[in-house]
């Protein structure tokens, strides 16, 4: 009988396939219609989906609620903007984000990892608040206006070249990057190391008696999540041409947490589908009223109370059942 965790992983494969196909179709239709707005919106949804992925790795797998992941995302975005203004290279910006993610993750992790639960949430919250405030007040980083004038870049993919100005083209690039981040995360979570993170969430007091150091496991998880967030952040200035301190504010971290909860905690796919869902909701609600925050907040509270497993909680069991039926005709 296949392991329950592996069946869940396989259901995720199906869902990822659906997402990729939908993305390709969306890009094709958008390109045909010369659309810019919706493609850019979808691209942004994917980028923030990467941030949500980072939150889910910590919350849904390691069992740690971070209320400050925007710190890594925002700093990744700022770094990317600085790199691109000097050298307009996609790969360099991405690489810088990767390296920064490791360093920032280690620094932030060493501070935060000593505590758990509520204290962890508060430390991550506080850390993000403090750094956000410093960035907001730093003139060389553009202070409250942020960094503007990030150039349009040409992304060299070997066989072809895509411009970041091309709505459909860049959408596909971002889709590829985010799916790659997802794939790496999914792979790692199906290894003994990843399963240990899951064990930490299930009962962290038992883990040392299974032969492992919880501190180093949590730190590794934290660095991993930080890298995912930072790399996602590097994509932002390529899309919008600027970065601003809002990217580091609590609202960004908070939105990521909401995304994960609405999508489904501990599913990885929930982060991505959740981001799409939230973006759609926000534009829809935004057409009636300015106060989408309140409505999203109410939806969120409703989800916490009534639908704790989020969207994936509804969709994935159905997919899993389909898979099990195919395995045993």
């Amino acid at each position: 009988m296949p392991d329950a965790l592996t069946v869940a992983a396989r259901a995720n494969h199906v869902l990822v396939g659906v997402l990729i196909l939908a993305g390709l179709a969306f890009a094709a239709i958008g390109a045909a219609q010369n659309d810019t707005f919706y493609l850019r919106l979808a691209t942004e949804a994917l980028i923030f989906g990467g941030l949500a992925l980072s939150v889910d790795i910590l919350l849904g797998y390691t069992g740690l609620l971070s209320l400050g992941q925007a710190l890594y995302f925002g700093l990744g975005a700022y770094l990317s903007a600085l790199v691109l203004k000097a050298v307009p290279s996609f790969w360099l910006a991405l690489a810088a984000g990767l390296g920064a993610g490791v360093v920032l993750g280690l620094v932030g992790g060493i501070i935060a990892i000593r505590v758990r639960g509520v204290y962890f949430a508060l430390i991550t919250f506080g850390l993000a608040q403090v750094v956000a405030k410093v960035v907001y007040n730093t003139r060389s980083l553009g202070a409250s206006d942020g960094l503007l004038g990030v150039p349009i870049i040409n992304i060299d993919l070997g066989l072809a070249s895509v411009s970041s100005a091309s709505p459909a083209g860049f959408f596909l690039v971002v889709l590829a990057v985010i799916i790659a981040l997802y794939a790496v995360s999914a792979y790692i979570l199906d290894t003994p190391f990843g399963r240990l993170l899951i064990a930490l969430r299930a009962n962290d007091r038992r883990v040392p008696f299974l032969g492992y150091r919880t501190a180093s496991l949590r730190l590794s998880s934290f660095v991993f999540a930080a890298v995912i967030a930072t790399v996602s952040g590097t994509l932002y200035p390529m899309l919008r041409g600027f970065v601003s301190p809002e990217l580091l504010f609590f609202s960004t971290s908070g939105n990521a947490v909401i995304t994960v909860l609405l999508g489904g905690v501990g599913t990885l796919m929930g982060a991505l589908y959740g981001s799409v869902l939230l973006t759609v909701l926000r534009s829809l609600i935004g057409t009636w009223t300015e106060h989408h925050l309140m409505i999203i907040g109410l939806l969120f509270m409703g989800a916490v109370i009534f639908l704790p497993n989020g969207l994936m909680g509804l969709v994935r069991p159905a997919v899993e059942r389909l898979l099990m039926r195919k395995a045993r005709p």
Partner: protein, 297 residues
């Protein structure tokens, strides 16, 4: 020598007083937060928004012509049923889940967002500055001290002392501490635990609202004021010890004075990192804070 005296008289003393006024309000908010945590084991992420709630309510009622002293009594009282309703209708729904800590944190976080946007809906995003209810200043030993701040310090201190008295010296307080210490035991001894929980939450947010009314004329009223305030409140609670009122008082005084005096020498931007740094160090060195839990006080 004269320069030192001058410095004390014109720079240091007023700053200390400002710090005290802020400190008293922070302590009120922190006490509410720590009671809610000490009793319900709930991290109220919307606590800052209830602080804002008090300020906005005072603003609105003030426009209707109600005098300040009446607001000071009415707003906190009016917030009690609000808090009671929130606890019974929202928090209780997720209270018995195994992952209660995370769920209540998320739930109150959502509530905070809703409240913040509600303020924006009702009052707009721009700050309001209610008039100082007690204008002017008094001269004490050659130091000019604003009347309102002195009033704030006195009123706040009285309320804090009253709360401490009730919690540590009365039968009601004993019941509350018993319920914090061991819920089931307290219930079997006849303590109405459900009422105690709802009442504690209501009282906690009411204290925050009271602080909001007090500080509104000094720091203005705007939708995100709760978010800015909450980090300091949480820091006080953590440094003082989750669940400890004495801790909230000591840590509150200490941290606000550190912030006030630091602001004399360094840019205000850097006072936040200092406060946060103290919280982090405390969590790393002595996670239970200075004084530990309410039930064990």
């Amino acid at each position: 020598m004269a320069e030192v005296l001058d410095y004390v008289q014109f720079v240091l003393a007023p700053q200390v007083v400002t710090g005290l006024a802020f400190g008293v309000a922070v302590i009120l908010v922190a006490i509410g937060l720590t009671i809610i945590f000490g009793l319900l084991d709930v991290i109220n992420m919307s606590h800052g928004e209830f602080y804002a709630f008090g300020a906005f309510a005072a603003l609105a009622l003030g426009w209707l012509g109600l005098p300040f002293w009446l607001l000071l009594i009415l707003v906190p009282l009016a917030m009690l049923p609000v808090g009671y309703a929130v606890e019974r209708m929202l928090i209780q729904r997720v209270f018995n889940r195994p992952d209660r800590h995370v769920t209540t944190l998320l739930l109150t976080f959502g509530l905070g967002l809703v409240l913040e946007d509600a303020f924006r809906l009702g009052f707009g995003p721009n700050p309001y500055r209610p008039d100082t209810p007690i204008p002017g200043a008094v001269e004490l030993f050659g130091i000019f001290l604003p009347n309102y701040r002195l009033f704030l310090i006195v009123v706040g201190a009285v309320v804090i002392a009253a709360v401490a008295l009730v919690v540590y010296r009365t039968r009601l307080g004993a019941m509350v501490r018993a319920a914090a210490f061991d819920r089931n035991m307290a219930a079997s001894l006849g303590v109405p635990v459900a009422w105690v929980y709802a009442g504690a939450f209501a009282f906690g947010i009411s204290l925050a609202g009271f602080a909001g009314v007090l500080l509104a004329p000094i720091y203005s009223v705007f939708p995100t004021m709760g978010r800015d305030f909450i980090l300091m409140a949480f820091t006080v609670v953590i440094v003082g010890g989750m669940g400890s009122i004495a801790g909230a008082v000591v840590a509150g005084l200490f941290l606000t004075q550190v912030q006030a005096i630091a602001a004399l020498y360094i840019s205000p931007v850097w006072t936040d990192p200092i406060v946060f740094g103290i919280m982090v160090v405390m969590l790393m060195v002595r996670p239970q804070g200075l004084f530990g839990r309410l039930g064990h006080a």
